[in-house]
Amino acid sequence: MSGPDVLPDDCREALQHAAAMSDSAVLLVRDGPDGTAPTVAWLNAAAADLLSSDASSVAGRPLDSLLTAADDGPLLHTVRAQRRSARLRGADGAVHPVEVVAHPVPGQRLWALTAVAEHDGGDRGRALAEAAQAYERRFLALTEQNPVPTVLSDVGMRLAHVNDAFARMVGLPAESLLGTGWLHLVDPDDLAAVSDCAAAALQGAESDVVAALRSVDGGRRLVHLRLAPAHTPGHGPSFVGTAEDVTERVAFEQQLAYQARHDALTGLPNRAALFESLQAGLAGPAGVDPLLAVLFLDLDNFKTINDSLGHDAGDSMLVEVARRLRGAVRDGDVVTRMGGDEFVVVCHGVRDDAEAEVLARRLLDVCTRPLTVTGVLVHPSASMGVARAGVSHATAQDLLRDADIAMYDAKARGKNRFAVCDDETRVVARDTLQLLADLRAAIDTGQVTVAYQPVVEMATASDPLLSEPLPAVEALARWRHPVRGDVPPQVFVALAENHQLITGLTAHVLDAACAQLARWRTELGRLAPRRVNVNLSALQLGDPRLLGTVTGVLEKHGVPASALCLEITESAIMGDPAASRETLLALREVGVSVAIDDFGVGYSSLAYLQRLPVDHLKIDRSFVLELATGGDGTLAAAVVSLAGALGLSAIAEGVEVPEQAARLQALGCTLGQGWLWARAMTGDDLTRWVRSRSGEARDRRAPSPRGSSSQARPLPHGVPQAAP
């Protein structure tokens, strides 16, 4: 740096301008010529004000004529800056106490002096320092009794102060925690995080960390350390912190987190934990782990144990199975409980199917050992599906689904065994799953339609002159898949029954049928079918919501209960005769009639049959077929006879040729349905069919030049009839 004498003019002006802008008094002083006393070379406006002079009158004057510094060594040192108390004498004779700092310009006999009035600088500085100390005393007094453990840093991680609450928390006197004494309490594993937190605070950012402190009694307290930056003028940055004891809260949270991931009954990791564990194996840094295998285990007939021995017994069995599985897996394998009686074992390091099979066999073996539950010796069995991770398993769900598929395969093959998910099983199962998804959508969007097959009075059906309204129509669900075409009812109804869709499907058919009946009653008047028959699934006989659904639909469409008949298969009723009786009685109570479908093939107990509230028996089509193939019709005759004896009406199904109709009538069966008269058709087609039939009857009643025929004329099968 050069002195002002050699500075370019613009720089010198800039420096002087900067000094001129300063609120402090600034004087430039140079050595006098030939060793004479230093003189003032320049001063700014603040200095001129302080001296009560014009700058021009001061410039050039010896410094000692203006300023007397405390006798504490030379003020103008050639190397070191010097600070002194001094007195400035103004032109008006006034003397101002100031603190003056003289900065030498290296290599020059030149000094920059700043002078701050002591009442501005020294006194104010002292006042500020005292105020700061007073604030600190107040702050310490405030924190001293505060129940929140509080710390105040000094420099770095060193503490200048801890309050009583902090000392109490760790069980040590406050003095021993000052400096870095408190760091000995921080759990070594957390020291790095605490240091980072303090470093952040010292650099001006609020920061926090949860760390463990060891108390003197050997305990361990978890604290939430929150540090806020602080600054002490003249001493640099520090921090103020609180250390909230969160031991209990964190323990509670950890307990909750544990509970959220573990099954309360068995203590095993639960479904959520399973998914995490699987996902880690499938989406690790190296992609899918090909050595990962999943074994999906479902106890066979567990419901029987629960129902017969009680839920406590069922729970004991689950606990025991969990214990056995856990004891049978290798280190690193994870046994989880999916829920109910389902367990999933996640195994690592499974190289091939053979190894997976060994594992599966071992787990099945331990599960199927007899055990005593509430004093009863039980022989558990289980079905297990095994799936090994592969490229097709992007998610945990994918892998679990394959294991589930294999498990169902094992069940289908007779239970108490395991199956490994292979490509064929997977393709079939996935196709079924797709169809199921489509069916679910079809039910929701009305893609499943309802067709109606007339039930006729066989006597009048053969004689149009005696044509009367149809005694009934049977509502039949139909599904035309947009890709696969017509899906047979036995396929999609079974699918619906197996996957909890049957209630929705039945409700849909019931609603459509009742709506259609209401339309017929409007459009066809007295010719409207008297009754619509809707099929119920066996599963619905135990559904307590059934009655409400039925009465709701009837009310919605203004259809009397007597116009609805529910058809239930014989085998469905016999599955749980007592429950069926309850349901059927309730339906009967509101006026709905009941038909037993496919009667004769279900080995009904006649004793039950007598007690059941049933109105119609539908003769199974196999018995009707016999009548057309030379059989003696003994079974059909027996059913008709039985119906008569019980006061029920008999309805023959699958009547296709006049001979069958004639023989049935001869046996005393009055009602029939079958292709002989009509196939199932849409509601509109049935309207036209009824009108056509009625018109034909009218035509026949009117005189005809060609006379009339008494021969029944079957209508084309399923072909919509032209409206009259």
């Binding site: 060594g73 770095g156 991680m157 400096g179 870095t180 001493h235």
Partner: protein
């Protein structure tokens, strides 16, 4: 003996065979200014350290600005970094920038380190026997004692660290004579007497003069003067906390560095403000931290 400041003269105590001191002006009067002027000769060698020492204490001094100056002197910057990462500050390994190191240490400590560098006691510079160990022990003990005495610990730490700077100045001024002088004394008190006898002033007085000359806070220099006068005069009953702190810190350092030396009566020394038990506890606690500090400042 006359010890003054300003146009200070030190009059060596008359002794037989008065040494041929390098700064003796031939009139038997030694100018303390001349001794301190040795500090002024440093700029050519350690311009940055000198610039930092020259910076007056300024509340507005920002860490980045100071760091940018420190960074220009690689050995000093390394020393600053090492010290900030020492166990004493508890941030071991977490101080990775000079700016943060300066923040952690505080301006006064950085300036103190710069003064030691300017005084020629850098990492590789020759120093009197036991210089750093004693300085570090005194600094650590002073820092620990500060709070109970109502002092700011970093300032007390610096006071302890710089209390021996006069030794370095005497050593550099009289390399041939100072080491035998130290080795010939049984304890610190006898060393102070020997220094007064040989140089007219103890190293504590020289430290005080140096701090004053470089515009360190005047209470630091004043505390050193009280220590220099002890036991002839004792710290004021209710004041001179910094002097009390420094006296006790020196006693702790004595007991650590020279375990065989006769202990001083701390109660008497401090007028009851520091208990013997506290000193005993510090004697146990200080050595490890001091050793870490010595490593930090000497590299």
């Amino acid at each position: 003996m006359i010890v003054g400041y300003g146009a200070t003269t030190l009059t060596p105590a008359p002794s037989e065979g008065a040494p041929d001191l390098p700064w003796d002006d031939g009139r038997g009067v030694v100018l303390l200014e001349d001794l301190l002027a040795r500090l002024d000769q440093v700029p050519a060698q350690r311009p940055v350290a000198t610039q930092i020492v020259r910076m007056t204490r300024d509340d507005d001094m920002s860490a980045p600005r100071l760091a940018s100056v420190v960074g220009a002197d690689a050995p000093l910057a390394a020393r600053v970094m090492r010290l900030a990462n020492s166990a004493y500050y508890g941030l071991s390994g977490r101080v990775r920038t000079v700016a943060f190191a300066v923040t952690v240490l505080g301006f006064t400590t950085v300036r103190s380190l710069a003064l030691t560098a300017a005084a020629g006691v850098g990492g590789t510079d020759p120093v009197p026997p036991g210089f750093w160990r004693r300085s570090a022990c005194t600094a650590v003990a002073a820092g620990e004692l500060a709070r109970p005495l109502g002092l700011h610990a970093p300032d007390a730490f610096c006071l302890g660290l710089l209390s021996g700077i006069g030794q370095a100045l005497l050593f550099h001024a009289d390399p041939a004579g100072y080491t035998p002088l130290v080795e010939g004394c049984e304890d610190r008190w006898s060393l102070l007497e020997a220094e007064r006898a040989r140089y007219g002033a103890s190293h504590v007085a020289v430290s005080s003069a140096a701090l004053r000359a470089w515009s360190f806070p005047s209470d630091m220099a004043a505390a050193l003067q009280v220590v220099d006068r002890w036991p002839g005069s004792r710290p004021a009953e209710n004041g001179d906390a910094a002097a009390v702190c420094l006296l006790v810190a020196g006693e702790v350092a004595d007991r650590v560095v020279e375990p065989g030396s006769p202990p001083q009566d701390v109660l008497h020394m401090t007028g009851g403000r520091v208990q013997p038990g506290e000193v005993a506890a510090l004697v146990r606690r200080v050595p490890d931290l001091a050793a870490d500090l010595v490593r930090a400042v000497t590299g």
